[in-house]
């Protein structure tokens, strides 16, 4: 006798321990199997794009901090690159090296957060998360040395950064890089070979790479499927063409592959920072105010600049009408676009995997809703 069941629809979020912020899903279950999912966005929609139209180009840097609040430096960098492209500003070399160091540190912090929360979603009661966040605190200390803020940095300015790193930053950075490698080794030892982690993440939420590309998904998610697409390598911005690093690829394109790619990429970021420290030279960290005034008036036109953010291609599209404020700012938010295939990943899967898959996408509600 076949048992007839009726699917049950449950609302998850916007307040839920593992929706990484104020994300909401309507999920339809049949037993433990997910039948349908509908994401609901907008619980953190703050209207940054509209507010940017009333602020000067330098003031907008503070708004970009608060979009993806676990990778503020990367947001700053993407925005500053767009402004520099729009206004034709030539950045000063020391500033560029400093912002490369800052953004790679931020990438490590972001990947650590992603890894920690993924394991939290897997059900580890906080321990891996706390170990990852402990290392993140050290990185935030480095940011405090650079700019005085922990997570909303506003460190970058058109043409470079707003102040030079203090003398004690460099030994601290050197120490910190060693600590990061230790933490990553520790995480790998305990987690990558753990049978429970492996059995729960292997083969779940597999996405073919053609589908990923068609859905505009970039970043670690795309690289976990074996597509060698890293803007730092394919479209080098700043001085990424002067450093060498390995591109981390995996073929499985499942949750484990995404986790693995993130963990490995932290090592590559450390490698990049080491090369930056070798190549950085004394000089001004930004052009003088004669060359790049406080109130920038870019020529009429538009520019789109994208960087390899911690979650994927992070792009800023700016339209200038020649005034001190942009006529239109648009953010190509990788977190939002990476969620395009959420339904494909979840439908047919188990309820227990729902938040693991969700965590493996690594999204940030500030960036999803802006």
């Amino acid at each position: 006798m076949a048992i007839k069941t009726q699917p049950v629809t449950v609302n998850l979020g916007p307040q839920h321990p593992s929706t990484h912020g104020v994300f909401r899903m309507r999920v339809m279950f049949d037993g433990e199997e997910i039948v349908d999912v509908e994401p609901v966005f907008g619980y953190l929609h703050r209207g940054s794009e509209k507010l940017a139209e009333e602020r000067t180009y330098t003031q907008i840097v503070t708004l970009t901090d608060r979009m993806d609040y676990v990778s503020s430096m990367l947001n700053n960098q993407a925005y500053i690159l767009a402004v520099e492209k729009l206004a034709g500003i030539e950045p000063s070399p020391r500033g560029v090296w400093l912002r490369m160091i800052a953004s790679e540190l931020q990438r490590i912090a972001s990947h650590l957060v992603a890894t920690g929360f993924l394991l939290q979603d897997l059900g580890a009661l906080g321990t891996p998360l706390i170990y990852a966040m402990r290392e993140r605190e050290n990185i935030l200390d480095l940011f405090e040395m650079l700019c005085g803020a922990r997570i909303t940095n506003s460190y970058l300015r058109p043409g470079g950064v707003f102040m030079d790193a203090p003398a004690e930053f460099w030994p601290a950075l050197d120490r910190g890089l060693g600590d990061i490698l230790n933490t990553v080794d520790e995480l790998e030892t305990y987690l990558s070979g753990n049978e429970i982690v492996f059995s729960r993440t292997k083969g779940t939420a597999v996405l073919p790479k053609e589908l990923l590309i068609n859905a505009s998904i970039t970043g670690p998610m795309l690289r976990a499927s074996g597509v060698d697409w890293d803007l730092r390598h394919r479209a080098p911005y700043d001085y990424y063409d002067r450093v060498s690093f390995d591109r981390i690829l995996h073929t499985a394109s499942d949750n484990y592959a995404r986790y693995w790619v993130r963990v490995q990429e932290t090592r590559e970021s450390v490698k990049i920072i080491r090369q930056c420290i070798e190549q950085i030279e004394p000089g001004d960290v930004r052009p003088s105010f004669d060359e790049v005034p406080r109130l920038i008036r870019p020529p009429v036109g538009d520019a789109y600049a994208a960087i390899e953010g911690s979650k994927g291609e992070l792009g800023f599209y700016l339209v200038s009408d020649g005034s001190i404020a942009p006529y239109r700012m648009h953010v190509r938010a990788s977190s939002l676009i990476n969620l395009t295939l959420l339904r494909d990943m979840l439908i047919g899967g188990q309820f227990g995997d729902l938040f693991v898959t969700f965590g493996s996408v690594d999204l940030n509600m500030g960036e999803v809703d802006r």
């Binding site: 339809m28 953190l44 940054s48 509209k50 966040m133």
Partner: protein, 216 residues
């Protein structure tokens, strides 16, 4: 014995293949939600007054009441369970406060409850949008009294950098009364800890004779 009603508001027909059906039947729900948001936006125009404590006169205090007060207030302040709910940037500083370096657990606060029924403290950590105001108010209503609210960061306090935005609530005190405001954008974890100390101080001063603790 009849069980509780479990009506499916989504109205899935039994037996029909529900795969992919969800998004076509939820527009009405979205409209209902939108109505409630619009209603909240049009009715919550003025901030709630901040709950001010009247410390009762010493003469009114009997020995028994004040020692019961002492025990009760001590217990309440020593075991404040925060609700596990973060809105925006500040939530990461809230998480940092619970992590190894700042360690909220020292004050017995690591028991972050996922369900509002069991929580005592709602830390509004981050920008509150009108769309989120409805669920947040519901969370507040679901919490058992006595309950406290900390408004963390300028976004929650007044709208902050998003003050003029079309979708941001200009201060969480429009939605619910707030006990402690923690300024900063975002406040450092130490600042949040200081705010929690202030809340402890406040809880200590309630009395059974006076105003009931943690009521709206």
């Amino acid at each position: 014995m009849t069980g509780p009603k479990l009506i499916d508001p989504y109205g899935t027909p039994a037996g029909a293949d529900p795969r992919g059906a969800l998004q076509s039947i939820t527009l009405d729900l979205d409209r209902t939600e939108g109505e409630s948001v619009n209603k909240m936006k049009s009715t919550h125009l003025e901030p709630f007054p901040d709950p001010v404590l009247e410390v009762p006169d010493d003469l009114k205090r009997s020995v028994i009441v004040s020692s019961v007060d002492y025990l009760l207030n001590w217990a309440r302040k020593s075991s404040v369970f925060p609700l596990q709910s973060g809105l925006a940037c500040c939530s990461f500083e809230m998480i940092s406060a619970a992590m190894a370096r700042f360690d909220l657990a020292r004050f017995g606060m690591e028991a972050m409850r996922a369900s509002p029924r069991q929580a005592d403290l709602l830390i509004v950590a981050g920008t509150l949008t009108w769309k989120m105001a409805v669920p947040l108010r519901r969370l507040y209503d679901q919490m058992a009294e006595p309950r406290w609210v900390i408004s963390m960061g300028v976004c929650a306090t007044s709208g902050g950098p998003y003050y003029q935005s079309y979708s941001v609530v200009p201060g969480v005190n429009h939605i619910m009364p707030v006990d402690v405001y923690v300024p900063g954008c975002p406040p450092r974890p130490d600042a949040l800890l200081y705010g929690i100390m202030q809340l402890h101080d406040k809880i200590r001063r309630y009395s059974l004779n006076g105003q009931a603790a943690g009521r709206e």
